[in-house]
């Protein structure tokens, strides 16, 4: 907007204005983030009793999260969303043809998937999945990753097209729900009955949940609102919801379809032993390039059985084990990033350790390089830029070249884009520096609470152990115990001495650290209840901090003229996510197949959506798609993987998908409650007056 005159504001007033403004925003974000931070800290410190290490990093990370959220939300508020709305309103007006809307919608949807780094999350969840029991999953996730991304992108693209068409023609969202969701459920059930496809159901559903991240949601919402207003067919400009729901549902279908298509390229699921056998080598090569990479996999992921099966001769097997210890080059090649001690601790079996103990006399000290702050920051900046710039660029190009218009406030849009990038960087860095370590610590400590027996957590081999340092103590009843002091990381620990752990020939003492269960053996039920409570709180708290949910909430408040407040919507959705994450954790603990927990809610949702209010139904389904963003995903991953690893669960997929379905419930219930309240008011008809 060109202004003819400009008022000059004295610097002091300008600073004061800006100060008040920023203070207000920061305050709001602190309130959103406070819950999850306090929750994690209190849980870790007081309930699990773990010491808080790196508190300064955590505090720094939290500060970054708050600043990042503030900048990001403001940046999209006056930068990206007005841009999206302007394009959405003007595009159908200028180009009346459906074709333009379809192409534009597909570009936005596909582009947003390529931009958002959600694939990394899926990869991480899938990293623990063994290739022998879930071959198709391994194939899609590790070998044909780009195909997978394209399939997801195509799903989102079609979703945006369908959503925009709905606004343009003005048909009810219930029609879309009634067609898309049953189709989705049918495809899932079909996949369940196929042994190969069964393994990718979790992947498919979680890919639906992780699309539509913090940048896509506000943009797609804004575009949808613009298109809906331009068509004028939707009840007085309240439309605009529904695309996000589709963008979370259709990728599931496309991934499953991809699975159907690639089915033949994957070997049959087998046991670990069978997979590595020589006679099945050809099938294994469908998943691995060479013997070498298969061997690497055998060491990194598989157990003793697999390794034994890999080497047809026992001598070769022992040879390889020896080389692992003695030949550093071989070890680095085979184990890669994993340190030898970590391999010993997590992957090796008792037999292997026993066999190998004769061979190493020196613990190879391998320093694990921790990622520096600057490398994290630069990577996150690159991620943020990659997430925001392509989509914004697309909109700007469409605006300038095809619509021949300028944004209303050009400087605000530029500032908004910059703020959004900075904000996203700070947010994701802060999460990775501060929040994720917190979550991981709790995630690892959590299984303690319900395992009935003591678990080995770590072993330290002490070289050149001098039994002379062992001191004795005596108890009042005369029983003697032996102790020695271990100095580690600058701290002095007193360790109980067990003579059987001392090996006099090699002069080594093996100190095994046990983890005690939190509760006594009979109380594991309480332990599980604690885990579930934690899961609920994690889901609830992290949703409160999700930027995409706040963007949706503000939009809803504006579209309903304040009748549905952002505050209420966010809380209602957060409760739903909490319930969902709780269900997800129960799934991991009790090994329930994902499909049993996922399908029944969707079946129930169909009739509930039919009877609900049109606008509430749209808002409810969109809320489901909006959850699980940059805050929830890392935390849920940390917790889920921790628990999954402890229980040797087959995979941790499904938690995110469950976290996306229960919010739909809670919002629909909330909508029904609002509607019942509304009934109080007003509309008597004349006949009632005359008769009554």
């Amino acid at each position: 907007m060109r202004r003819s005159s400009s008022i000059h504001i004295p610097v002091r007033s300008a600073v004061h204005l800006t100060g008040v403004y920023i203070k207000g925003l920061l305050g709001e974000q602190v309130k959103s983030v406070a819950f999850i931070i306090l929750y994690l800290i209190i849980f870790q410190r007081f309930i699990l009793g773990l010491p808080l290490s790196g508190i300064s990093w955590i505090a720094f990370g939290i500060a970054m999260v708050v600043i990042g959220l503030t900048f990001f939300l403001e940046g999209i508020r006056f930068g990206l969303m007005p841009l999206g709305e302007q394009v959405g309103v003007t595009l159908p007006a200028r180009y009346r043809s459906i074709f333009v809307i379809i192409v534009f919608g597909f570009l936005v949807g596909f582009g947003s998937t390529l931009a958002e780094p959600a694939i990394a999350a899926l990869r991480e969840i899938g990293s623990t999945v063994p290739a022998w029991s879930a071959p198709l999953l391994y194939l899609l996730l590790q070998r044909y990753t780009s195909l997978l991304i394209w399939a997801i992108g195509a799903g989102v693209g079609i979703a945006v097209i369908l959503g925009l068409l709905r606004f343009h023609y003005g048909f009810s969202i219930k029609i879309l729900i009634m067609t898309v969701i049953p189709m989705l459920l049918a495809v899932t059930v079909m996949a369940y009955f196929d042994d190969k496809l069964q393994s990718i159901i979790g992947l498919a559903w979680d890919s639906g949940a992780v699309t539509t991240g913090a940048v896509t949601v506000p943009l797609v919402l804004a575009i949808g609102i613009g298109v809906s207003r331009a068509s004028g067919r939707n009840e007085g400009g309240r439309g605009g919801f529904g695309i996000i729901m589709l963008a979370s549902a259709l990728p599931i279908v496309s991934v499953l379809v991809l699975g159907f298509a690639m089915r033949e390229n994957a070997p049959d699921p087998r046991t670990e032993h069978d997979f590595f056998l020589q006679e099945h080598r050809e099938q294994a090569f469908q998943l691995f390039d060479s013997e070498k990479s298969l061997q690497r996999y055998a060491f990194r992921i598989a157990g003793e059985e697999g390794r034994k099966a890999f080497f047809s001769e026992n001598a070769d097997y022992r040879n390889a084990l020896r080389s692992l210890v003695l030949n550093e080059g071989f070890r680095r090649d085979i184990l890669g990033d994993m340190s030898f001690s970590e391999w010993l601790r997590t992957r090796s079996s008792e037999n292997e350790r026993e066999y190998l103990s004769g061979f190493f006399h020196r613990e190879v000290s391998e320093k694990r390089e921790s990622r520096g702050i600057s490398s994290i920051l630069s990577q996150k900046t690159a991620d943020a830029a990659r997430a925001i710039i392509p989509l914004t660029g697309l909109l700007l190009i469409v605006l300038f070249m095809f619509l021949r218009e300028r944004p209303r406030y050009r400087d605000e849009v530029s500032l908004g884009i910059i703020l959004a990038i900075i904000g996203m960087t700070c947010l994701t860095s802060g999460i990775s520096i501060g929040l994720t370590p917190l979550g991981e610590a709790v995630g690892e400590g959590l299984p303690r609470s319900f395992q009935a027996s003591e678990q080995v957590s770590d072993r330290i081999v002490i070289e050149e152990f001098d039994p002379g340092i062992v001191i004795r103590s005596i108890q009042p009843d005369g029983k003697k115990t032996a102790y020695f002091y271990l100095e580690r990381d600058g701290r002095l620990e007193r360790i109980q001495y067990f003579s059987e752990r001392y090996n006099p020939e090699k002069r080594q003492y093996e100190h095994i650290i046990f983890r005690k269960p939190l509760f006594k053996a009979e109380l594991t039920f309480l332990g599980i209840a604690l885990v579930c409570l934690f899961a609920f709180g994690l889901g609830y708290g992290s949703s409160l901090a999700e930027p995409a949910l706040h963007a949706l909430g503000k939009t809803v408040e504006e579209m309903t003229i304040g009748r549905v407040r952002e505050y209420m919507l966010v809380r209602v959705v957060a409760i739903g996510v909490g319930i969902g994450i709780l269900m997800g954790i129960m799934r991991i603990i009790f090994f329930i197949p994902t499909i049993w927990l996922l399908l029944p809610p969707y079946f129930l949702l169909l009739p509930m959506s039919l009877i609900g209010d049109e606008d509430f139904v749209g808002i409810a389904w969109d809320s489901g798609g909006v959850t699980t963003g940059p805050v929830t995903v890392p935390l849920v991953l940390a917790m889920g993987m921790g628990i999954g690893a402890e229980l040797h669960a087959p995979d941790s997929f499904g938690v995110l998908a469950l976290g996306s379905v229960y919010p739909i419930f809670t919002v629909l219930v909330y909508g029904l409650w609002v509607r019942i309240n509304q009934r109080r008011s007003v509309l008597e008809k004349r006949e009632e007056l005359n008769n009554g």
């Binding site: 204005l17 218009e405 605000e412 304040g562 109080r680 007003v682």
Partner: protein
């Protein structure tokens, strides 16, 4: 001016505010009588919901209860006013309290299309049996800057017993745009509250509202009043628990009908001082210029107006429903309202109509109304 496309004429602007579920009835009726283009805005209306206190404590608990409404605006020729009002009331049963309100205002219109003409055969006799169309009303429009200010003002208005307030959202332009990037620290969103009150009481009600909402402080907003020729008001201010056989509003509305007007309700004497003893000064002799154009195109027009001396504009998003031709162009519109003193009015209107390229393609119409009183913070 000398614009051949835009015709300058006197017209009656009809505003019909109904509960969202009555939308269909209104639209069907308007299509039937031949009105093609109507402009719709969404909003909410507030009422007081009375609940008894828990545990049998004395007194009643009053909360605000909102319901979604749609605001339909269109213009017709002045002769048809009474007919259209009456038949629309019949079609949507607006005489039953709680369903909505409707009123007609006299104004000058510059519009492209001719005013809809309702053929005489369409007018049936029974419709002329008038509903109690009240004369002597005024529409008070309050533009508030603070979020949540709308509900506060609505509560005050309800507690004073004035009418059912209608709240909509809008955005303001004006001095804010001259601040450069600093404008992001001042949110542009405004809440617009509309109230229908009897005319001679209007100024005093305005003073009461200003005092209660502390609008005499800077940065809170401003309000202005435009006259209404005739209308039907929604008197269902309170819902919920009722203590007597009839609510006070039912009694008032019955007496209104008996006395055929609201003049008996005069409450205040003409010189009422507020609690601090200062008289709140209202400015007189203003004009409200409102125009509807395609969304996004109003900026340059508002710029011209501001160059000609207008202080700014309040912009609301509305939809244009073309009942005859569904496939026509985009429905997204914005309604810009500018208040200027009489002496500046002509200059501003000329400046607006000077932008021929824009108004030819994107302007729907321009309305000019008299504003007897305006209040805003003056330094």
């Amino acid at each position: 001016m000398g614009d051949t496309i835009f015709r300058d004429r006197k017209a009656a602007g009809i505003t019909c505010i109904v509960h969202r579920s009555l939308r269909r009835q209104v639209m069907d009726f308007l299509e039937k009588i031949g009105i093609t283009k109507i402009y719709v805005e969404v909003g909410k209306s507030e009422r007081l919901f009375i609940k008894s206190r828990p545990f049998g404590l004395p007194g009643a608990h009053q909360t605000l209860h909102d319901s979604p409404v749609e605001i339909f605006r269109f213009s017709i020729s002045t002769e048809d006013t009474s007919y259209v009002l009456n038949s629309l009331i019949a079609a949507a049963e607006l005489d039953v309290q709680g369903r909505g309100m409707i009123f007609a205002q006299e104004l000058h219109e510059c519009g492209k299309d001719p005013l809809p003409h309702i053929p005489i055969e369409e007018k049936s006799e029974e419709i002329d049996a008038k509903y109690s169309l009240l004369p002597g009303l005024s529409l008070i429009t309050c533009i508030l800057s603070r979020p949540g200010g709308g509900e506060e003002l609505a509560r005050t208005a309800l507690e004073l017993g004035t009418c059912v307030p209608v709240i909509t959202n809008g955005r303001g332009t004006g001095m804010r745009d001259n601040l450069g990037l600093l404008r992001i620290t001042i949110p542009p969103e405004k809440e617009i509250v509309q109230l229908i009150v009897p005319e001679y009481d209007a100024d005093n009600i305005i003073r009461l509202l200003i005092e209660e909402a502390k609008m005499n402080l800077p940065g809170r907003g401003f309000l202005f009043r435009t006259p209404i020729d005739m209308g039907v008001v929604d008197t269902r201010l309170r819902i919920g628990r009722q203590e007597h056989a009839a609510s006070i509003e039912q009694i008032i509305s019955a007496i209104d009908e008996l006395k055929m007007g609201t003049h008996w309700r005069k409450r205040f004497s003409s010189t009422d001082k507020n609690s601090f003893g200062d008289i709140i000064h209202l400015l007189n002799n203003y004009q409200a210029i409102s125009f509807v154009c395609r969304e996004g195109k109003g900026d340059s027009l508002v710029n011209r107006a501001m160059e000609a001396g207008a202080p700014g504009a309040t912009i609301s998003r509305i939809s244009c429903l073309n009942l005859r031709d569904r496939e026509s162009d985009s429905a997204a519109r914005e309604r810009n309202v500018i208040c200027v003193p009489n002496n500046l009015a002509k200059k501003v209107i000329d400046a607006l109509l000077h932008e021929e390229k824009i108004i030819e393609q994107f302007l729907d119409f321009l309305w000019i109304q008299d504003v007897p009183s305006v209040f805003s913070y003056i330094r």
